[in-house]
Symmetry: C6
Subunit: 69 residues, 6 copies
């Protein structure tokens, strides 16, 4: 659960990154991959897509923060 | 929450862009990437896909603006 | 809201196209891109995927047109 | 609405194809594209993905055919 | 409907494969495509993605097998 | 069902991997593919996307672990 939608966005990015870390545990390899993906519109968009899917789950889990609206 | 579906579309595009900004904070790099992605049907479609997923979440969060219908 | 599922399909295609227009406002550029994407099975399928996601949202918004069934 | 899940699958494939037809109305072009996509595992999988998304919407619309179970 | 989540997984894989069969009815062509896709991480992941979407629908249809939990 | 969201994440990764195993049962082939996919940002992101979809289903199945919040 998160207090606000913004925290939900941050959690979604963190979850997406943690999954990459679980599949490629070697931090050095991830570091080597970073420049390539961070300068590719296609790769950034694909990562943004994963964040959007994770956020959809987090938002539903928090009942769209309706209790705060 | 947004007042109208149109505002929901705009929020979806903004959220998708903010995620890219969170993953590639360097505005200059994003600027360099812009021409390439903005003239690629495949990249634009992939970005449109992310917006569609974000909009699905926003629409559900706003109960599909039923209270206004 | 749309009166029928068919109108929902048309709205989904329109929304998908409007998003592309919002990300690439230059109609001439979009016109230049059209032949390439319209003759690529991969690009057409990717666009069809976005329409399917948009339609899922529109169908849920219209309660799957159950009130008319 | 469809009477059975199987009809729902068929409708999903039809909807996915109709969207391609709406975006590329020229049947001859679609015919030319057919061999290429129908012999590409990647293209067939991408098309199968669209059908899966369309089917999810159709299944929800039919309340997962629970009234028949 | 399926009795267990595991049967739901198997049904999801079967549905994904049946869709490919519906779009490319020629079993020989599918057989020719098999080695290429079965030795491509990208193609296997894309197929796994379709199975995940199909499973989401099947799980919802079975009310997440809550009646058995 | 899983006791915690973290277990849900682990189950999502396991399900995604089991599907790959079901489509490519030869462990040696999967082993050969591993280095290529584990050092490709694009492949890791695509795999992370599948995990996100599986997690969405698992989270809904567990009613977003609301009974524990």
């Amino acid at each position: 659960m998160t207090a606000t939608p913004q925290e939900g966005r941050e959690l979604a990015i963190m979850l997406a990154r943690k999954t990459i870390g679980a599949m490629q545990p070697d931090a050095e390899v991830r570091q080597v991959l970073r420049p390539g993906y961070a300068t590719s519109a296609e790769a950034l968009t694909a990562a943004g897509h994963v964040v959007a899917v994770e956020f959809a789950t987090i938002a539903a889990a928090n009942n769209y923060w309706r209790d705060q609206a």
